[in-house]
Amino acid sequence: MGSITIESAAIRLTDTILGYNEQDLEETLKAIAVDVGVSHIAYVRFAPDKSSDASLLTGTMTYSFQWQTRYFLKQYVLIDPTISYGSKAVLPFDWDDLPRDDQAVQAFFVDARHHDVGVNGLSIPVRNRRGVYSLVSYTSNHPKQEWQEFKKINMIKLQLISVLIDSAASVNLKLDSPPVKLSKREEQCLIWAARGKTYQDISDILNISFGSVKSYLDTARHKLNCANLTHAVGVAIATGVIPAKALQGSSFK
């Protein structure tokens, strides 16, 4: 499966967040699944009041309509261990590592497999500023060894994509997203990055540590809902978060 590229997936999500993408989230997730080479993507948001009542879940997923209906009718949410475990977990987890002693749970996974959910599953918990917990799951049908390799190589990218999916879902749910406001340092670093400077250059120019430059740029990227720096620079300029003028001349300090 190798190393995935998430650029086009990320651009779809950023566009959704900016309101440039008219596609609904399910269509966007389908396109992303193709981009990153997985079978399905499922997004679930847990009710912020910490109630475990299954009816308070909201979600968007690419599974077949038939499976989604079946899952609802059979009340699988009550035994699905990805939900009970994932609603409060913080580390990403493989579905194979969940306890499966319960026969009902085993039967659930067999049924899921019959409905093309996928043989392998990985869930990544996401926490956002509002303190809301959500879970983004990726499934595939690759042989186990390839799947292990896939997770190992791509976990950082999958984290980034998962957080973007959570932000895109907020837009989808018509929750207001806070306006992007960069701090002084984030803005300075981003402008120098836009002018083609490396982390080391920026660290020398602004007289701050290399690690700080990385973290300022990473936080700016996160605030702009982008998966990489180049895209963040583009979005910052396109949305006026940094004025295009700032890129001209050399008076900027």
Binding site: V90, D97, G131, I156, G211, S215
Partner: protein
């Protein structure tokens, strides 16, 4: 031996958790003089209710508690953002899917612990920092941010983390406190495996993922 314990599963590890909260009270309230809540000899705060990931070092033979830390994603509630923002320049924050925060690192001295390294770093602290490196792989992280005192700063430097200070150090309680960042990834793991070799630990410590139902 390292244990990774999900906060949501903490009730399955009552002995370890109790020892951890007790040692945190001794370390942060009594020794460092931080203004933390201690009740019945246990130090707990609201971030313990936010389902963090705990890394715990225990005696591989007796399972006795040796030390611990906790990790929280910076996209959600975390200490630097919600408790120590004044350690950063005004308006600055650290927030990213691939940066988690480490807090409440502490250790006890007990019989049976491997000796200190030549540069004087405590075995348990270095094992916990190695654990951060492993957690970073499991979670897909690029950097760790943390608030720490001068002693932990020295430890981070000694084990090869190359911590970089951000913001401005401030006196908290009786102790100078710093906010800092370090990279995770191969560099960190290599530095730590060299460190283990120096300590004469031949086999890597096994770790236990606390998935128990």
């Amino acid at each position: 031996m390292l244990k990774f314990i999900e906060g949501s599963r903490a009730s399955l590890f009552p002995v370890e958790m109790d020892a951890m909260f007790r040692n945190r009270a001794l370390t942060f309230s009594e020794r460092l003089g931080w203004d933390v809540n201690v009740r019945d000899g246990l130090e707990r705060d609201r971030f313990d209710d936010a389902n963090p990931l705990y890394l715990m070092s225990v005696d591989p033979n007796t399972n006795e508690y040796w030390g611990s830390l906790r990790l929280l994603p910076t996209t959600g509630p975390n200490m630097l953002r919600d408790v120590f923002p004044y350690l950063l320049e005004e308006g600055e924050s650290v927030e990213s899917a691939t940066i988690w925060e480490s807090s409440r690192i502490c250790a006890v001295t007990a019989e049976g612990q491997p000796r200190r390294s030549r540069n004087g770093v405590n075995f348990v602290l270095s094992e916990l920092i190695a654990g951060i490196g492993e957690a970073a792989i499991l979670a897909g992280l690029t950097q760790i941010v943390s608030v720490f005192d001068a002693r932990i700063y020295r430890v981070l430097k000694a084990v090869g983390c190359n911590p970089q200070l951000i913001g401005k150090p401030r006196r908290i309680g009786g102790t100078m406190s710093y906010a800092g960042l370090f990279d995770t990834g191969e560099g960190l793991l290599q530095a730590l495996s060299a460190f283990r070799e120096e300590l004469g630990i031949e086999t890597p410590e096994s770790k236990e993922l606390a998935f128990a139902a």
